[in-house]
Amino acid sequence: MSGGTSPIFGNLNWNVTPYTDAFQHPDSSTIIGAGAASVLVLGAIAGLALLTYMRWWGPLYRNWLTSPDAKKIGIMYIALALVMLTRGIIEGFVMRAHQATALGTLSAQESGLVAPDHFAELFSTHGTIMIFFVAMPLLIGLINFVMTQQLGARDMAFPVLNQVSLGLTAAGAALVMISLLVGQFGTGGWTMYPPYTGKIFSPGEGVDYWLWAILISGMGSTLTGMNFAVTIFKHRAPGMHLMRMPLFCWTSLCVAIMLIYAMPALTVSSAMLALDRYADFHFFTNASGGNMMNYANIFWMFGHPEVYILILPAFGVFSEISSTFSGKRLYGYTSLVIASMSIAVISFTVWLHHFFTMGQSAGVNIAFGIATMIIGIPTGVKIYDWMATMWRGRVRITAPIVYLTGFFLLFVIGGLSGIILANPSIDYQVHNSTFLVAHFHNVIIPGVLYGMLAGIHYWFPKAFGFRLSETWGRRTALLFVGGFVFTFMPLYVLGLMGMPRRSPTFQNPDFMPWMYLAAFGGVLMMCALASLVWTFWASYRNRVALAVPGGDPWNGSTLEWSTPAPVPEWTFPCIPQVSARHDWGERKRAGDPWKGPAAYTDIEMPANTVHGLLIAIAAFALGFAMVWHIWWLAIISILAIPGIVVIRGLRVIEPRIIPAAEVAEADRRFRRLVENLPPATRADEETERNRGVPDITEFAG
């Protein structure tokens, strides 16, 4: 930044946008940068115009942004994640396109679509976005939406805290998004290892954008973890013992525990790096007693549990759908519970395998290598349990089952390459190569992404009242499977051929055929993204034919299928008495599961509040001000956050009461509707005859 820091605008000036670069040095790299910024600006303008034209500002504010309802918060998390997913996939595609054109020669070593610095920004934002602003919001959103309903609870234990968590996550995501237009993002990868990311080697705003996005959204995730844990321990319906909880709730509990214990490590490592950068501390500097290796140590103390935070909810989803779509009871419930809890605990003992090559002695490496191999065992147990669940079941090949099949085939390969990498002597050979890139995409895409998309497909009717198109759902799933295979299998080969990861250029022409294959895979991934968007749009247009007001389109066995679709804000007209593990299924066996409750009572729901929104705005302002050294704004916003909390604490806030008559009226209407709808058999599941009331004589789960 030329010139000093202005007292009003900090380091901001008119030269921070990518347009300046594009005008001064127009080439493919700066034009792509300016193009991305334009997409952001035009997208924002289009969004605002649409909201204004459709007069949606009021409903958006009243029904969504100020709602403390866990189900709506869950949907907003998922919407945020899908927006970020779009950016993440496009960035991945640009990187694949770049590397397919990046063959340099000895005389002209740099080549390709984007400049090396731009490429570094791309892989840094891609990783940051995909982990923190796609995978995390997807799974937290899905847990928010599903877990409360499965537990027989009306809401989270702390609904307003839940809103604050969403606000903090969105503020972090907004910081990453605005870095497209204002300034640049860091170039240190999603892990941002110092000393490269220290002030000496990375001056400027890039690393700060990452730091504040992570610090702010990380706080949100920690709070969410506490919220989930308290909800599971305190808000289960009467009779819902821990060992009667659906498996998705068990994996949510594991996630909650891991969020509580792992996220603070990330906050600590980022805060220490921030102190280094802002206040001349020496935690991770080269000189003055700093030790940058401790950053890797603390970061991965968070980072490895994080990997299992991402995958466990997907395991929960697969447990639910393998049982539902096979028409069979889940095989090995207890072993799945034990396996999930084992994974949650063992995942805290393996973090060193992310830096086997950092220089510690062989004994240390072996200790963590063995721990890493052990964690494969509970994961293997789960795969066998799901296969046994589907064995001799009446499997319907719905979109979630396509994802599950893709997961079976591909995740096992990813897991095996992980077991290979757990051996330090092999890790030394392929460390920092694209073999590693292939490995972690091979567990995250078939695991997390397929799991979450399968979950969205499965629970979508519960949220919006209509099913997603199975045809387009299956096409999307197959495209994601094909896209994955073509993009990442070549990277295994390239890694073994010696291609380093994060490399903007290379001089070996033997890489080219594999690069082209991977670029083709990138095209398939873009098609999968388009197909995903089209699935939502086509299903929305066809929503009358796909409507399932009966609320149980898949003949499920867990509590959330007992309510109408879309689910009312109070979820259950009266809190169910649980008497079995698959309570809804048992009620189907006993006959007449839709019998109404004898009496209705007033329902207390948390009142809408603007609290979370205000905190999100203040947190975003704080992050932005700190990134650009706008000190006055930083001071105001950092005082505003406790101020908002205190003001809310001083006010008496009454819950909203929904009168018994209103609940009774809505509920009786639903019961009458269910009686009049014709039951759909499994064969009818994908047709218009499926109105959400299954033929309960067919239930076998």
């Binding site: 321990f233 305190k234 808000h235 289960r236 319906a237 009467p238 009779g239 819902m240 821990l242 214990y261 490590a265 030790n291 290796m293 401790n294 140590n297 603390i298 103390m301 605990v345 805290f348 003992t349 973090w351 060193l352 950092m358 220089g359 510690q360 002695s361 004994g363 240390v364 200790a367 809190i575």
Partner: protein
């Protein structure tokens, strides 16, 4: 383990004793924080300073758990509280012990 849907407070827990518990915790935390600073500024050997600060820190953790988070090993939920503390301590021991193990090994190989 948990009695489901029991959000209600113990009626015998009157507001006065609640406030007293918080006040005691606040004063104790304050004293322990000031004590740690005093230990740092005092004319003591470094080892003693480190030991004193560590002891003050651990005592402060105990104070927070007891007075602010209401953990107790006697009464209805003592078993849950005990499990929670044991689980937290074992995870923290893994993290702290692991860091010690890794970083001391690295340091040993650097010098």
């Amino acid at each position: 383990m948990t009695k489901p849907n029991t959000g209600e407070l113990d009626p015998q827990d009157s507001a006065a004793s609640e406030i007293k518990s918080y006040a005691v915790g606040f004063v104790a935390s304050l004293l322990l924080t000031v004590g740690a600073f005093a230990a740092l500024l005092a004319d003591l050997p470094t080892t003693w300073k480190v030991v004193l600060i560590c002891v003050a820190a651990v005592l402060q953790i105990v104070t927070h758990l007891r007075n602010f988070l209401h953990l107790s090993f006697a009464g209805g939920e003592s078993e849950e509280d005990m499990l929670l503390v044991l689980f937290s301590v074992s995870l923290l021991a893994i993290m702290a012990g692991g860091t010690w193990y890794i970083m001391s090994d690295l340091a040993g190989r650097m010098h």
